[in-house]
Symmetry: C2
Subunit: 142 residues, 2 copies
């Protein structure tokens, strides 16, 4: 019988995150002690490890939910899992391309910083000027 803290340590998750996963139905409601504390078994440990590994690969929680469902139903065809993975791969490659462009521009900025006053600073100048960059008006970050 594992406490939530042990589960957390073993999977590199925060305790609160585990409770959050329970809240949104990604982890099952575990058994409790008389005093009301959660106690887990190995099945839960495995499930959480699956979730965390998937998160580390960047899968959103919704996709993980689907993957867990598939994982629980061994007779269903697996092309759905494959689909999800391919989609994720595409996203990752998109982000990589974007980051590459960003890195190039940041490198240029840093390299050309005069080290003098803000008024001559290339960093600020480059930020002020859109014209040299790929003006894709879309989202970043995620």
């Amino acid at each position: 019988m594992l406490t939530i803290g042990t589960l957390a340590k073993r999977t590199g998750t925060k305790v609160q995150t585990i409770r959050y996963y329970e809240q949104i139905g990604l982890m099952p409601e575990p058994g409790r002690t008389e005093g009301g504390q959660r106690r887990y078994g190995n099945a839960e440990l495995d499930r959480l490890a699956f979730i965390r590994h998937s998160r580390q690969l960047g899968f959103p929680l919704d996709a993980i939910r689907e993957l867990l469902d598939l994982s629980d139903a061994p007779d269903r065809p697996c092309h759905e899992a494959d689909e999800i993975a391919r989609r994720q791969l595409k996203l990752v490659e998109q982000r990589m391309r974007r980051l590459k462009a960003l890195r190039a521009e940041l490198k240029r900025m840093v390299k050309e910083c005069s080290g003098g006053k803000a008024s001559q600073c290339r960093v600020l100048e480059v930020l002020r000027d859109h014209s040299e960059c790929l003006t894709e008006h879309d989202q970043i970050g995620t």
Copy 2:
């Protein structure tokens, strides 16, 4: 005199986002018409362009705030701006390294999918198994 919609179009921002920037103090409170609609000048257009370009480079709003302050004080030494840019560059490089590892693992998963049933699916198997991957217990996504 520019309306908020014009400003939005010119900078590739949504109208609500501009109002949001105003709310958090990143954009100044502009003048208003008698009826209460916002009217902007070119200074505001430039400022917004600066913000958007910085966001496209992945700078968080806090960093942009600092950069704007620097930009407003031309006599301050620019090494702070340089610092911020370097920090950002480091973050970007970190993310790139991480994404590269992810891509490799995703590619492997996709390649080895048998196309059969979920019970033999490598995608699910790989997700179940942490041992082959760099088990860095830290955040992803951002």
